[in-house]
């Protein structure tokens, strides 16, 4: 009845592969991912270059591996930022006085009105496009999802009897937040993190495609796609690889999120 294992296992495996690729790129890539080699421009896939080379003679496999690093980096920083900022805000909104909760939620709605891409373009316009501005913009745009989730979860936990007991026993608020609330909403936050990660990967790709993300020559899947677009007539597969990489990574994080959701919220087990 539950398909928990499938989503969790497949999603986990894909994410694992992406992480492994990113880690691998630190110690080994088949070739230097940024070294231009005019002698091997647009080489076809083969023994020397498994997936061929791009217009600068750079090895596609190497770029994909380092691109995984960029992608994960953006995701980790963006989602991390959102989680670290959003979660306490959400818990605070739940535990604090009602007006604070109201204020937080309205601010949330307001931030939600600035979509990630719009924020990133604004940031890029002011500070110049870079991976950093992209990460921060995506992160800020993701804060509301975490705040909202944390607030909702915290309100539920706070209504449970053992927390009421703890409160009536006079335990300090911070202790309650750390000891009771946080552990109980950690699962939901993990689900949100996974889903946000998928969104961050997509956003980074779109931004790099528009030229508001990762700067050359740092390999990024979105940038690879943008560069490959010039060669659609000649070598369409150049666009295929980064496109596939993006799609697979997003799929992986989404599946992982679904799997985790089934885990942490059994009521939803059969939904997706």
């Amino acid at each position: 009845m539950t398909r928990t294992p499938a989503a969790l296992v497949v999603g986990g495996a894909i994410v694992g592969i992406v992480v492994a690729a990113a880690l691998l790129s630190f110690v080994w890539t088949p070739y230097d991912a940024v070294q231009v080699d005019p002698g091997t421009r647009l080489a076809p896939p083969g023994f020397a270059h498994w997936l061929g080379t791009d217009t600068f003679g750079r090895d596609v496999v190497s770029q994909l591996l380092v691109g995984a690093r960029t992608t994960l980096f953006v995701g980790v920083v963006a989602v991390g930022l959102a989680g670290v900022v959003g979660t306490p805000i959400g818990i605070l909104a739940a535990m604090g006085p009602p007006w604070l909760g109201e204020l937080v939620m309205r601010t949330n709605d307001l931030v939600l009105a600035f979509p990630a891409l719009l924020l990133a373009i604004m940031f890029g316009a002011v500070y110049g496009p870079s991976t950093l501005t992209a990460m921060v913009a995506i992160g800020i745009a993701t804060v509301p999802s975490f705040a909202r989730l944390a607030r909702g979860g915290a309100l539920q936990v706070l209504a449970t009897e053992y927390v009421l007991a703890a409160r009536s026993a006079g335990r300090p608020r911070t202790a309650i937040a750390v000891r009771h609330v946080l552990p109980n909403i950690a699962g939901l936050l993990l689900v949100q993190a996974s889903v946000s990660f998928a969104i961050a990967v997509l956003a980074e790709a779109a931004l790099s495609f528009l030229g508001f993300g990762t700067r050359p020559p740092t390999p990024s899947w979105g940038r690879m796609l943008q560069e490959a677009q010039q060669f659609l007539y000649l070598k369409p597969e150049l666009a295929l690889w980064p496109g596939l990489a993006i799609a697979i990574a997003v799929l992986g994080f989404n599946l992982l999120g679904d799997g985790l959701r089934d885990r942490f919220d059994p009521r939803l087990a059969d939904r997706r």
Partner: protein, 505 residues
């Protein structure tokens, strides 16, 4: 049971596809329409003008569209020979001391607002360049003019403060454009000139529509309407060409247009040269690059042929200094800074900076981004760490690099004709201050033609030896067009994309 539920959805989907399919069949006609003589000729370009006022807005996009086509000067460049030839001036004479120019104006010329063109307009236009109304940097070309005199309605006399061999040539650029005093109120949106075309519509983000004037004084162009369609992205322009969305891709699409139509009989490819020197600018006044040894090391670390082949598919011309082959003082200088990584490393060591870290703040244009990656990779080979930072062009690049010279390295294409003279201006963003070069440039203005050529050749050699900048390659004039479009320019040596000779055959 579920089937009955799905039916509306499936039908709706089918309906959408049907509409799409039907219209796909029925509107083959607009695609066929370009065959008719009145159909607009659609030219795809990649840099859209922010507005239509080149007196106040820098950049090549506005004169590309408007000069020669909408605005005319007293003189113009012959696209084939590069010679200066008559335009609104039927003829002219120069006094022996090179200070007084007498222009005899063509009669019966009218502006597109109906006003007649007279010597008063010449005086108005030239003096206007010198006023605050003009703000672009090129206005300095009019600095040598000391006065304009209206001798008669058809006779204008321009007096220079000192002899200038380059002034008449500059009169072929945008600063020589003739305006009507009553037509300068809204230059950004409503240009008024004497040219064969007027701007009939400017759909921002889409197209600039030029319509042929019936009351044009000269030979009327063959094409009644030209749509200059602007694409943010060269790939989109190529797609449009392939799907008959446009008829011509002007420069800007780069090699990918030529690549896409290779072997396709529907299209022709025209390849020539331009004035666009893709220049690796080096800050001569600040940072590690203020040391000439570092600059020379950079120039010698770069394999220019590899840059051209990799970044621009080998299309284009290698140049060794700020002079395109179409200028009279062109000279190859292969031995000044040959590709020699070992020597480059040695020079860096000698300068005491074996591994300098440099900011390469480039224009975010395709050729610059592509070249920068090759250059960066090659510099890395000799130990130079160059960080690429693409800046939005034009605004951000102009602000940070061009105006404030806040850069170590930069890449942009310099398309203004005869822009070697910029090395005589210490405030120009190269921040190159060489009295010898400045003296030679001043001399070249006064002497004979031969003297001018030798002086400028010497300047070319000096700046190359100093590595005042490095010249990566000269952008090609790569035009891809439907086979039946005739009269496309082989070379682009002026500022304008000359539409007057175009026809369909």
């Amino acid at each position: 049971m579920t089937r009955s539920l799905l039916r509306p959805g499936v039908l709706l989907l089918a309906g959408v596809l049907l509409v799409a399919g039907c219209s796909a069949g029925s509107t083959a006609s607009p695609g066929a329409a370009p065959g008719s003589p009145d159909a607009p000729l659609r030219i795809g370009l990649t840099a859209e003008p922010a507005n239509l006022d080149f007196t106040r807005t820098d950049g090549a996009a506005i004169p590309e569209a408007l000069l020669v086509n909408v605005y005319e000067g007293l003189v113009q460049l012959d696209q084939g020979t590069g010679e200066i030839e008559p335009a609104l001036a039927e003829s002219w004479t120069v006094s022996p001391d090179g200070l007084v120019y007498d222009f005899t104006l063509r009669e019966g010329v009218t502006f597109s607002n109906g006003e007649a063109f007279t010597a008063d307009d010449v005086k108005f236009s030239i003096e206007r360049v010198r006023s605050d109304a003009w703000t672009v940097s090129l206005k300095s070309g009019m600095g040598v003019v000391s006065g304009v005199e209206v001798v008669s309605p058809t006779h204008a006399r321009v007096t220079l403060s000192q002899p200038s061999n380059s002034w008449l040539h500059r009169m072929t650029t945008r600063i020589g454009a003739m305006f009507d005093p009553s037509g300068v109120d809204d230059l950004a949106n409503t240009p008024v000139g004497t040219g064969p075309y007027t701007v009939s519509e400017f759909r921002r983000g889409d197209a600039l529509v030029l319509a042929r004037r019936d009351d044009y004084w000269g030979e009327k162009p063959a094409i009644a309407r030209v749509d200059l369609q602007y694409f943010d992205d060269a790939t989109a322009a190529v797609n449009a060409l392939l799907t008959d969305g446009i008829d011509v891709i002007g420069t800007g699409a780069g090699p990918r247009g030529a690549r896409a139509v290779r072997g396709d009989p529907r299209f022709q490819v025209i390849e020539g040269t331009t004035n666009g020197e893709v220049t690796l600018a080096m800050n001569n006044a600040a940072g590690p690059t203020s040391d000439p040894r570092v600059r020379r090391a950079i120039a010698m670390a770069i394999d220019h042929e590899a840059v051209l082949n990799t970044a621009w598919a080998g299309r284009g011309t290698l140049i060794d200094t700020m002079v395109p082959p179409t200028d009279p003082w062109y000279q190859p200088l292969p031995d000044v800074t040959p590709y020699d990584p070992a020597a480059a490393r040695a020079l860096l060591a000698e300068a005491g900076t074996p591994a300098p870290s440099l900011r390469m703040r480039i224009a975010n244009l395709p050729y610059a981004v592509a070249s920068a990656q090759v250059v960066q990779s090659q510099l890395r080979e000799v130990g130079i760490d160059a960080q690429i930072e693409p800046l939005e062009f034009p605004a951000r690049w102009l602000e940070d690099v061009f105006r404030n010279a806040d850069y170590d390295l930069s890449i942009v294409s310099h398309v203004e004709p005869r822009d070697i003279r910029t090395f005589g201006d210490p405030s120009y963003y190269w921040r190159y201050d060489n009295p010898e070069v400045q003296r030679l440039l001043a001399d070249s203005e006064a002497g004979t033609q031969e003297q001018q050529i030798t002086d400028l050749q010497q300047v070319g050699r000096l700046i190359a030896e100093d590595a005042a900048a490095d010249w990566l390659f000269l952008l090609p004039n790569l035009i891809v067009a439907d086979t039946d479009v005739q009269g496309l320019p082989q070379n682009r040596i002026g500022e304008s994309l000359d539409l007057t000779a175009l026809s369909r055959g």
